[in-house]
């Protein structure tokens, strides 16, 4: 092989490597969901989320997902949430997905929230029947874990494309928790809800923007 040919080969290799790195950085920047801030400031703010059985659009139209409402009232496909430190965060979650069920009824008990009580469609509840649960909203490092009641399997007018509207079948779960000092905390749905993945635990369960996200507590 001539020297020129070898040089060309090396240059092509370097270019391919650089392209891969650039692709990785670009996809990281474009695929990390945008930050959605809570409405309100210290000492109390509110977060509004929804869960949908299938996103309905790209890149994963059939994946189960969370969405968050920004202060302007618009639904954003994101799970990166920003809340104030040392505050009470009032959370409202509209649940549009049907039940998956819990492996252990212990996940049906809300934890780490005010009065250990959530309200489901306006009714206070200290434990959810494990068969009715669809997802959980859990921030392990803050001790928060809240089960979300699913929509009945035979409910009419079920939502199939996000963002869902309140005219479609849903349950409303409300609770509040307290934030302490600033920090970045990972949150997660702990129900094996990723249909089509081994044991329900791949895909959306391990992807930011779907069943996995960050809670940014800012001072």
């Amino acid at each position: 092989m001539s020297t020129a040919a070898r040089l060309a080969l090396v240059a092509a290799g370097i270019a391919a490597g650089a392209a891969l790195i650039a692709y990785y950085i670009a996809s990281y920047l474009t695929q990390t969901p945008p930050v959605v801030a809570a409405t309100g400031n210290m000492p109390s703010a509110s977060l509004t989320l929804q869960t949908v059985a299938s996103l309905g659009f790209k890149p994963h139209p059939d994946w189960v997902s969370y969405l968050a409402k920004n202060p302007a009232g618009k639904w954003v496909h994101s799970t990166v949430l920003r809340v104030p430190a040392h505050s009470t965060i009032n959370v409202t979650i509209y649940q549009f997905d049907t039940a998956t069920g819990l492996r252990n009824p212990f996940w049906g008990e809300p934890r780490g929230i005010a009065n250990a009580t959530m309200t489901v469609d306006g009714k206070p509840l200290k434990v959810l029947d494990p068969d009715l649960a669809s997802h959980t909203f859990a921030i392990p490092d803050l001790g928060v874990s809240v089960p979300l009641k699913g929509v009945a399997d035979d409910a009419k007018n079920q939502c199939s494309v996000a963002p869902c509207t309140l005219a479609e079948a849903h349950t409303t779960v409300k609770f509040s928790f307290k934030t302490d000092k600033p920090g970045k905390f990972r949150w997660q749905c702990f129900v094996p809800c990723a249909a089509g993945f081994p044991l329900g635990f791949g895909g959306p369960m391990q992807s930011l923007g779907y069943m996995d996200g960050y809670l940014e507590v800012v001072g």
Binding site: K126, V127, P140, F190
Partner: protein, 285 residues
């Protein structure tokens, strides 16, 4: 080779052996009596104690062997250094059948003796040494029929515990009484985890559909760490808790309080069983 040089060779050997003996005489008692009590996993249970004894014995055996190698190494560096700077051929080396035989016999004896000793402690003296023995344990400690059963349930990603002799209630916290033989029945609701109660000296795989039994007898009260020792997914590291060994009266009081604390969930529990196959797994699969 000059006569003066060959006369010096045996003296090197004696010097090395002497240095080695002195170092061993200093290090071995230090290892056994000073470091030994601090070796893991401590002495909270008889099972942990026998694991620690094994660690002490192995370290003590290792010391003379390691010191012999190090002594020879350092001695050679210092004494046999080539001071001329030129590259010179060393004296030829010949095999020594006696030394080789001694080495093989000695190391063979150490390994075999350890195997015999290890088997004896595992089976006879410490009854499984806190390890999971599967659904039908071979090494049953005395009085195992009256052991307090505690079920350990693993799931992605938390531990829960059930007490069948106290109405089968389930708790998020683990407590056991001291000076009481406890039989952990370890199982899983989803995938393979591993129940590792560090200070108790207990490690038992949590396998779905399997009732893995491990015995433990706590010598004194205190806290112990619980970890999952089998990589089990995203929040594997979150499967960490602190358990407690309590005095018998404190344990009875704890049972009462724990029943109350976990009361709301109990009505939804599956009936107590050695293993569970929760439906949601099949639904999501």
């Amino acid at each position: 080779m000059t006569t003066a040089a060959s006369a010096q060779i045996p003296r090197h050997g004696i010097r090395i052996v002497l240095i080695w003996l002195v170092l061993t005489a200093i290090a071995a008692p230090l290892i056994v009596f000073v470091l030994g009590p601090h070796l893991p996993p401590g002495n909270m249970t008889s099972e942990a104690g026998s694991q620690r004894d094994a660690n002490v014995l192995l370290t003590a055996l290792l010391v003379p062997i390691a010191l012999l190698v190090v002594t020879f190494f350092v001695y050679s560096f210092v004494v046999f250094r080539n001071r001329t700077g030129g590259i010179v051929d060393g004296p030829p080396l010949f095999g020594d059948a006696g030394v080789q035989l001694l080495w093989i016999v000695l190391t063979g004896a150490i390994v075999l003796a350890l195997a015999v000793w290890g088997s004896y402690t595992l089976i006879v003296s410490s009854h499984g040494a806190g390890g999971g023995q599967g659904p039908s344990p071979v090494d049953q400690p005395k009085g195992h029929e009256h052991a307090l059963p505690v079920q350990v349930i693993a799931q992605q990603w938390e531990w829960t515990f059930r007490y069948p002799t106290y109405g089968g209630f389930e708790s998020r916290d683990l407590a056991i009484p001291d000076n009481t033989l406890v039989a952990f029945h370890v199982t899983s609701l989803d995938i393979t985890h591993s129940f590792w109660a560090y200070e108790l000296g207990v490690k038992a795989d949590a396998v779905p559909g399997v009732d893995d039994i491990a015995y433990v007898n706590a010598r004194h009260t205190g806290f112990f760490q619980i970890r999952c020792a089998e990589l089990c997914g995203l929040w594997h590291a979150h499967m960490a808790k602190k358990g407690r060994v309590l005095s018998l009266p404190a344990f009875q009081a704890w049972i009462k309080a724990a029943k109350q604390k976990n009361a709301v969930v109990q009505k939804y529990l599956a009936p107590y069983s050695d293993v569970y196959f929760p439906a949601p797994l099949r639904r999501a699969g």
